[in-house]
Symmetry: C2
DNA sequence: GTTTATTTGTTCGTATGTATT
DNA sequence: AAATACATACGAACAAATAAA
C-alpha cells in the first residue's frame, strides 16, 4: 500500500477493512485476521494496522478482545454511528427532508451574573442572544436559544446571517474544539407549545451546552429544545477491559 | 521511568500528567510541554508519551490541536467525566446515598416475535424477565425491565441473586463487550407513577438497550426508566479536525 | 510575504511481555 | 507446555501544518 494523495496509509487500510465489513466479507461472530496477517495483506507495518483498527474501534465498527482477536460490532438496527443527539442536518438527511432555519430574533442582552460567569466574560463585554427555530419540511424540530460572546462573531452581521451554521460564523474568528452538553427530559410549556405546535404537557428534551476553543475559552452557551417524538438520543457503551 | 509492578509505562505517564492537571500545574489556556519535552522529562520514548496523551484525550482531560500543541480541557461544572447516563452506583456515590435494589419479579416469558428476533434466539429458547426497582435512600430512581437469555445465566438462581449486579451474574457465563442504547423522553404512566411515587404526566427518560458479547451475540434486552428530576444525560462532543 | 523553526502526524523495524487457547 | 495474538516500548526518520522571525 502506498501513500496516495497525502491520505495517510492507516486511514486507507481502515477504509478497506470497513469496506469488507460492509460487504459482509468480515462478519459478526467471526474473528478478523490477526494484526500480523493484515499487515502482510496490506503490505504495511503492524503498527499501521493497529492504528487503522483503533480508528474503526472509535467509529464503533470493530471491537477488540485482549489477546484473542478483533471482531465486527453487531450494530443491529442502531445505525446512526455518531454518539449523542443526532445533529439537525443528519436527521434531515436520514429522513430525506428539507431543512430550514427561521431566525426569531437577534439582540444584545443585559448583564447577568450567572451567564457572564459561565462564559468567563468581563462585565462590560457584549453577549449576543440569538433565537432560532429549525424546521424539517415545515415541521418545527428544534428551538434554539443561543448566547454568543460578540468578540467571537464577525463584524457587521445581518440577522439573515444566522440562518446558516453558527459554527461556521464563529470559526471565521476562532476555532471550536469541543462542547459539554447536558440533556434533561422536561415538559413543553406554553411558549414551546406555540413554537412546536404541540399541546402543553408533552415531553421533550432540553439540551444545555457550552462551547469552547482548544485553549478552553468559552465561546457560546446554548439552550436547545428538541421534540421527543422526532429525536432519540443514542449511544454505544463499550465495557472497559478490567 | 520504569515498568513497576506490571503497570504499563504509558499509564504511569498518563497518571502523572493527570495529576499535574488536577494540581493546577498544567492549566486551561496554557499549552502543555511538547511531546519531545515530555518524553525527556519522563525519560521515555515519544511514542509512549503519545499513548499517554491519547489516553487522557479519551478521558476528556486533554485536547489536541493539530501541529500546535496539547491543552487541558475546560471542564467547568460539567464534572461527571463519564459520558452517557450515569450508572446507578455512580449517582449513589456522587450523592453520598445508600443504594438498594428491590426485585419485583423473575419469570419465564412467552414467545414473542420481536423480542426473540432482537435477541437472535431460537423459538424454543428460554428468556427470563426480571423486574427491579433501584432506590437511593428509599427514593425510587430507576425501574428496570430486563429480558435475559437463560443460557447466559448461572444455573439454579434464586430471586435474591438478582438484587446484585446482573452483569456480574452474566459474566460468570459469558463476557460482556458492549451495548447499544437509545434514550427517549416520555411521560410517566399509571404503572410508573406508582413505582416512582410521582404524579402521572411528569417527564422521564426511557432507555432501551441491547447488550452483546465480543462476538456480537445478543445477551440481554433492557428497558429502563429514569426519573428526570434526578438524572441528567451528559456528554462531551469533540469537534473532528476537518 | 517568505523562510525557518517548532510541534504534531505518520510510518517503519524490532523486541519483549502477557494473556488465552 | 506451546503456539497464537494482542499489548507495550524503543529508536529513527520524514511529512505536514502552524507559528514566529
Amino acid at each position: 500500500m502506498e501513500n496516495k494523495k497525502g491520505i495517510s496509509i492507516y486511514k486507507q487500510v481502515a477504509k478497506e477493512i470497513e469496506c469488507k465489513v460492509k460487504n459482509g466479507i468480515y462478519v459478526t461472530a467471526q474473528k478478523l485476521p490477526s494484526e500480523a496477517e493484515l499487515a502482510q495483506e496490506f503490505n504495511v507495518s503492524r503498527l499501521t494496522v493497529r492504528k487503522a483498527i483503533n480508528l474503526l474501534i472509535e467509529k464503533k465498527v470493530l471491537v477488540k478482545h485482549q489477546n484473542t482477536g478483533t471482531y465486527v460490532m453487531n450494530r443491529q438496527k442502531l445505525a446512526s454511528g455518531a454518539s449523542g443527539l443526532q445533529g439537525f442536518n443528519e436527521v434531515a438527511k436520514a429522513k430525506g427532508k428539507t431543512p430550514r432555519t427561521e431566525v426569531i430574533g437577534v439582540s444584545q442582552i443585559d448583564y447577568d451574573d450567572e451567564l457572564w460567569a459561565e462564559l468567563e466574560a468581563k462585565e462590560n463585554e457584549v453577549i449576543i442572544n440569538v433565537n432560532r427555530i429549525r424546521y424539517l419540511d415545515d415541521l418545527p424540530m428544534t428551538v434554539e436559544d443561543l448566547y454568543i460572546r460578540e468578540k467571537f462573531l464577525p463584524e457587521n452581521l445581518k440577522e439573515a446571517a444566522f440562518e446558516n451554521s453558527i459554527f461556521e460564523l464563529i470559526e471565521q474568528k476562532i476555532e471550536i474544539a469541543y462542547s459539554h452538553q447536558e440533556i434533561e427530559a422536561v415538559l413543553i410549556d406554553k411558549m414551546m407549545s406555540i413554537a412546536f405546535e404541540l399541546p402543553v404537557g408533552q415531553p421533550m428534551f432540553r439540551a444545555t451546552s457550552n462551547v469552547f476553543s482548544v485553549t478552553g475559552v468559552p465561546i457560546m452557551h446554548d439552550i436547545s429544545y428538541y421534540r421527543s417524538d422526532e429525536y432519540v438520543f443514542s449511544n454505544t457503551l463499550v465495557r472497559s477491559q478490567h
